[in-house]
């Protein structure tokens, strides 16, 4: 599906609202000053995702995944490149940066950070649907981004929204990038819902 510039802008805005809310939740919870923004999004095929992900860095990354089912079905993933994972956990926990290998407590911490951001993004997206979605239990995994997406969505023709999110923590000069990968069997339903919402705003 080819999206218009307006549709891509609208999706970008939805993602930005979502990650912004996620940052607010983290700030409230941890009394920190983290900012997250998504400068731009891209709509990709699985093949294109593989190329993009390979450009981004190491093959295996830490990811938190949330599968959903209902009016739209798919998976939302937040991927942490290793250095970003270390920087972010150190900044949020106030601890010194640990070793590059992730222990179970760090994995647990990343899972919560991922969970907060993904849930906020999902909240931002599901606002356009009248029906609730069903969610599976979030899951942490380390692998190549495209392999994980393929295994979660199970459809090589799925549509993927790829968003590099930039985070920075004020006063600590900590920054980095996390990747949001929102994959759905079909984008039509989501775009339809967004368009309908836009139309309803125009009518009112």
């Amino acid at each position: 599906m080819i999206l218009t510039e307006d549709q891509i802008d609208a999706l970008g805005e939805i993602f930005n609202i979502g990650v912004g809310k996620g940052a607010d939740t983290l700030n409230q919870m941890l009394d920190c000053q983290i900012k997250i923004r998504v400068p731009q999004i891209e709509v990709l095929t699985l093949k294109e995702l593989k190329e993009q992900a390979e450009k981004f860095g190491p093959k295996n990354v830490s990811t938190v995944n949330q599968k959903f089912d209902g009016s739209i079905s798919g998976n939302t993933m937040l991927a942490f490149p290793p250095q970003s994972a270390q920087n972010l956990v150190a900044a949020l926990t106030g601890e010194e940066q640990g070793s590059p290998e992730l222990d179970s407590v760090t994995v647990d911490t990343l899972s919560e950070v991922g969970n907060i951001i993904i849930n906020s993004v999902m909240g931002s997206i599901t606002n356009f649907f009248k029906q609730r979605l069903d969610y599976s239990v979030p899951n942490y995994a380390e692998d190549a981004i495209h392999s994980l997406v393929a295994s979660h969505v199970g459809d090589t023709n799925c549509s993927i929204i790829f968003a590099k999110a930039h985070f920075s923590v004020e006063n600590l000069e900590v920054q980095g990038e996390v990747i949001l990968v929102f994959s759905v069997g079909s984008l039509e339903v989501l775009i339809g819902a967004i368009d309908a919402f836009g139309d309803s705003l125009g009518e009112s």
Binding site: T109, E112, L133
Partner: protein, 385 residues
């Protein structure tokens, strides 16, 4: 209300009664935070019995959940939102479970939205995992790792200091040897000039004294040179490489001044070992050179052998010379220690001290076996690298 309760209880007993069998803490809340289910694991962990908390507000027992950071995320569950995770790092625990030593369990909590399809009522299912042991182990591991890293920094600092001191010592030895040798050269020249000045006037006694003076100066010069060599031998800038022992011995024997009747014997098939060639050459030439220099016969016989052990190589240099009295066996390895008349033979008492230093550097030991009149056997080991 009665009907509602019955329907809820059926919903719980039909779907969730097995949760009493799992080793994780589980409870279910209604939208108003009243407790609908409290599993037996939680009874055990918290000490709060099901009958005392069922249908009560969880906030009365655990007011921590009233905090906005928890409430806002728990509320999203009652709207059918995605599961929520509370990690052990950010929230040590949501439900305090005392461990008996004044501390509390470290927990990871997940909250999942569950819907009764018949009534469309939404509930929040809390699952608490005990991560106390894992957290303690990781924290212990991190402490050990940090301590090790500190030790490494400390050791590196010490190593740098040792290297610096070694370098300074080497420089010091160089400067000292250079500066001490200059006046010695002056004394040699002065003795020459005295000889020339006296010419025919010089009597036998003066000439003897002057020769004696020059000999002592020459000995002093050798000793200073020895100090410099010794200081170089203890510096650890070794470059290890493969050394063919047969070729090395050929080279040493070739360079030594050996009387023609002497036999120096070693196998044609000696191992190739990893070593510092220059230093090993110095050890072997000092030992073989000593055997030749101190031999009391013209037709001496020196046998060199190398035996390969599991962890090292064992060298033996054996001669049939005059031997060394037991009283000197320890002393000869000390710096500037010679055996009585040794200075006359040009010995400075540095050679064997250098040998011992280098062998120590090869993680080896040196020993000798000798009796007066029965020759001497020097044995030393050299670690396998």
């Amino acid at each position: 209300m009665g009907l509602r309760k019955k329907s809820e209880e059926e919903f719980i007993s039909q779907n969730f009664s097995f949760l009493d069998l799992v080793p994780v803490g589980v409870f279910i809340l209604r939208k108003d935070y009243s407790v609908l289910f409290w599993n037996s694991c939680l009874e055990r962990w918290t000490g709060v019995l099901r009958e005392n908390i069922l249908h009560q507000s969880v906030l009365d027992n655990f007011p921590i959940l009233k905090q906005a950071k928890y409430a806002s995320r728990i509320d999203s569950i009652f709207k059918g939102g995605p599961p929520v995770i509370f990690s052990s790092k950010f929230h040590e625990y949501l439900i305090p479970c005392p461990l008996g030593d004044g501390t509390f369990q470290t927990q990871q909590t997940m909250i999942t939205s569950i819907t009764d399809k018949d009534t469309n009522d939404i509930y929040a299912l809390f699952t608490l995992q005990d991560l106390t042991d894992a957290s303690k182990q990781i924290s212990k591991f991190k402490t050990i790792k940090k301590e090790l890293a500190n030790k490494e920094v400390e050791l590196n600092g010490m190593l740098n200091e040792v290297n610096r001191v070694n370098k300074e010592l080497e420089q010091f030895a160089y400067v000292v040897s250079h500066d001490l040798r200059a006046p010695l050269r002056g004394i040699t020249h002065l003795a020459e000039w005295i000889k020339e000045d006296l010419g025919d006037v010089m009597n036998e006694s003066v000439e003897e004294h002057l020769v004696s003076l020059q000999e002592r100066v020459s000995r002093m010069d050798k000793m200073i040179e020895g100090i410099f060599t010794y200081s170089k031998a203890i510096s650890k800038n070794s470059e290890m490489k493969k050394v063919d022992l047969k070729l090395l011995l050929d080279e040493i024997v070739d360079e030594l001044v050996v009387p023609s009747q002497f036999i120096i014997e070693y196998s044609e098939k000696l191992p190739i070992i990893t070593s510092h060639r220059t230093k090993l050459k110095q050890v072997l030439s000092n030992l073989i050179g000593n055997s030749v220099k101190h031999h009391d016969k013209k037709n001496g016989h020196i046998i060199i052998s190398v035996q390969e052990n599991e962890e090292d190589f064992e060298f033996e240099i054996k001669d049939d010379g005059p031997g060394i009295a037991p009283m000197f066996h320890e002393k000869i390895f000390q710096l500037f220690n010679t055996m009585g008349d040794e200075p006359k033979k040009g010995s400075t008492g540095i050679g064997l001290a250098i040998v011992k230093k280098i062998i120590t550097e090869f993680d080896g030991v040196i020993s000798l076996d000798s009796e007066i009149g029965k020759g001497v056997s020097f044995k030393f080991t050299h670690r396998k690298y």
